[in-house]
Subunit: 228 residues, 2 copies
């Protein structure tokens, strides 16, 4: 972590900017798992007041990107196998409902199709970070297209952790971009065909595969630590 940092002034609120900056650094692995983030550290690094840093930390905590208990320092969480399973179970619940609803209308969300293209480009250029980014965007677009504010908010509550996990294990990840793209395409196809059950099934398969890939890399990562 560099001793100085500059905030983009895009977002209206200073807290927003700080939140967004730290969020990115966590999900792309720049701030590694297990790292502690104190309020004063964040405040001094970004040159903001402690309450502002506190607010940003609380928001990150709410989205699962940090863990924090009373009077204790916030920590970037390390998700174990059980938690990854729980994460994907929850994710499955939301996204299944989303694709089913979309298939009922038969309309393929344009943002999802766009993200699908972005994934292919990123994969071709070996830009892993962009690939993860686009993958998250794809799934987020699917949920958003349903038009349910609350479904999206619930999804937002867990997708951060998905992003975190994928980002943290990025280096270890055996990229299988074509596989991912094919699985995504199958989901979109089922939506276009207006087949809710098929859409849900394809999505379930895709997420199971994704979970499996993550658990494998997680296992490999822990093996490497043991081997040292």
């Amino acid at each position: 972590m560099s001793t100085e940092a500059r905030l983009e002034l895009g977002p209206s609120s200073l807290t927003d900017a700080l939140y967004e900056s730290v969020r990115k650094r966590i999900v792309n692995g720049e701030i590694p798992q297990g790292e502690k983030l104190t309020e004063v550290r964040l405040a001094t690094e970004y040159n903001v007041a402690r309450p502002t840093a506190k607010a940003a930390l609380e928001r990150l905590t709410a989205l699962g990107l940090l863990r924090r208990t009373a009077h204790k320092t916030a920590v970037v969480p390390v998700l174990d196998q059980a938690e990854i399973r729980d994460l994907f179970f929850s994710r499955m619940t939301i996204e299944k409902a989303a694709v089913s609803a979309l298939a009922a209308t038969g309309e393929v969300p344009v943002d999802a199709a766009r993200a699908q293209v972005a994934i292919e480009y990123a994969a071709r250029d070996r830009l892993f970070e962009n690939q993860v980014e686009a993958d998250i965007a794809f799934h987020t677009a699917l949920v958003a297209a349903v038009g349910s504010r609350r479904l999206s908010r619930m999804h937002e509550l867990i997708i951060g952790e998905v992003h975190l996990t994928m980002g943290q294990y990025q280096a270890h990840r055996k990229a299988a971009p074509t596989t991912v793209a094919e699985e995504h395409a199958a989901i979109l196809k089922a939506i276009e065909d207006g087949n809710p059950d098929a859409a849900a099934d394809h999505l379930a398969y895709h997420l199971e595969q994704a979970q499996g890939r993550l658990l494998t890399t997680l296992q490999q990562a822990s093996d490497e630590v043991v081997a040292q």
Copy 2:
């Protein structure tokens, strides 16, 4: 709203206590829909600092019990028909997944059974507030029993609004306690029988009925306003 208020010192944090106190007052209708809650008002009423009040307001906002945009005063939201439908669609998604998972194990959650009893007592004694409270507890217990931290967190994200809506229309509500109890019993029965599909179906029916009851009372309430 009284000009003075006392906080119970149960919760460790002052913010927690404030949050909990205001939460109760919102969901039971003491603070009506559309009411504005400024930071200073809350701070002076409870005799706490503005930052503390701010934190409590932010938490309430996160759970949908207040609406707040930048630089604007927090307001107790008024849910229209479309939002109630969205709310129940989201709720359905979570709770269906929950009862299906429970039925797969075949174990009836004790807390849910306990809440079921509480509903009956409250209904018999005409304690509407307790009845609502116990109903929320029943559904929360179902989700909690799955043991998925993230599913529970997502549920928490929307159940507050359900509570709010039920509480706010409490006065208008035509109580149908036996009906509710029977619908709940059917869900528990299906779980006990280990039948996930039946459990999901009974839950879906129950929530559709509940939504219908709410929309009806909502309609009646708006009619009354027009008639004035």
